[in-house]
Amino acid sequence: MTVVLESRALSKRYGRRRGLTDCTLSVPAGRVAGLVGPNGAGKTTLLHLAVGLLEPTSGTIDVLGARPAASPEQLARIGFVAQDTPTYAGLTVADHLKLGARMNPGWDVGLARSRIGAIGLDPRQRAGKLSGGQRAQLALTLAIAKRPEFLLLDEPVSSLDPLARREFLQGLMEAVAEQGLSVLISSHLVADLERVCDYLIVLIDSRVQLSGDVDDLLVSHRLLTGPRCDLAALPADWQVVSASHTDRQSTLLIRTADPVHDPAWTVEEISMEDLVLAYMSKAAIAPDRNRTMEVQR
């Protein structure tokens, strides 16, 4: 299996503040990987480290088998759409394409032109006059026409209305189908990525809480309801992600490799959104517990 991004114990600090902590990841090639987590979790930090806009404080990161921005050749193989899909407000759509052609050795003129036509952008229009959705499409066109092997996008759809959001993801998925490129796309809204990504990375409070193939993750997590139980009495290979109890009933989200056969439990599958939310609330509880422990010590 080839890997497009590999990091080991990767950390980034901004003074005393943690941007990213002890992040070990391996993102396979040919996938659409979703990077999800609340605002401020470290998604942008990870993406900036991956494209070489930031240097790690400690640990290593390799992208397409080399250090980020190691050489012009390596940069040519990577596409990046920064947060809020920036464009040059004073330049026209045509200027942007000219700029793209000058700056990128592998520029695909035909692809850029046909995409601009398909979206219905007027080449003479200034980028500053475009709608949010159109600007996002222009930024995506520039990134795709560069013909990268690995495309990274930082919250590209968060500020778009539902229609523009869908059109953007349609364009992105078409490019994935046609060019077979690998994608890492971040969002603080899981619902945006539910249908598009087949690999998932959940980042919370600067740490990776969960990562893996979406199908594998969904198969290995089960929502159980049954008579009230003692957590200590559960099978040893069950990893309890969340648990809530009433005086009679227990509801558990567990991670296990084996199917649950115990008839005492009603077993349900879990959606990607519920899975991510469970890990988010787990992380929200954990730091408090650590804090009280520190106080007790």
């Binding site: 996938r31 349609q170 998925m173 189908a177 046609e178 249908r195 598009v196 087949d198 959606s271």
Partner: protein, 129 residues
Amino acid sequence: MIEFHLDGRSGVSPYLQLIQQVRQALRLGLLIQGDQLPTVKDVVGRLAINPNTVLKAYRELEYEGLVGARPGVGTFVTRTLADESLAAHGELRTELERWLGKARRAGLEEESIEALILTTFRATMKETI
């Protein structure tokens, strides 16, 4: 050529929805032997879903012997699920329409009609089992 659609609230995964829609079209005779399925690019461009989801659904249909992939050309239907019973569909539909008209005249609302059909359907299915 058929066009796929996704129901986001059904709880059925997109992968299964695609398979079900092909099977349904085969059963109703909307797809017959030799027909081409939409290309992966067309499907993802329409539904904004991961291309691997479409590939996986097509592979499953291929495994079931319903479609075959011709590399570089596309995916084509190799077998149909519509049998002789398809010929009876027209008459059954007319009868059903007549019955629906009767139900409406009797004052049943859409939800009541649906509930009545579903409960009767389930009850008779149980009997035959």
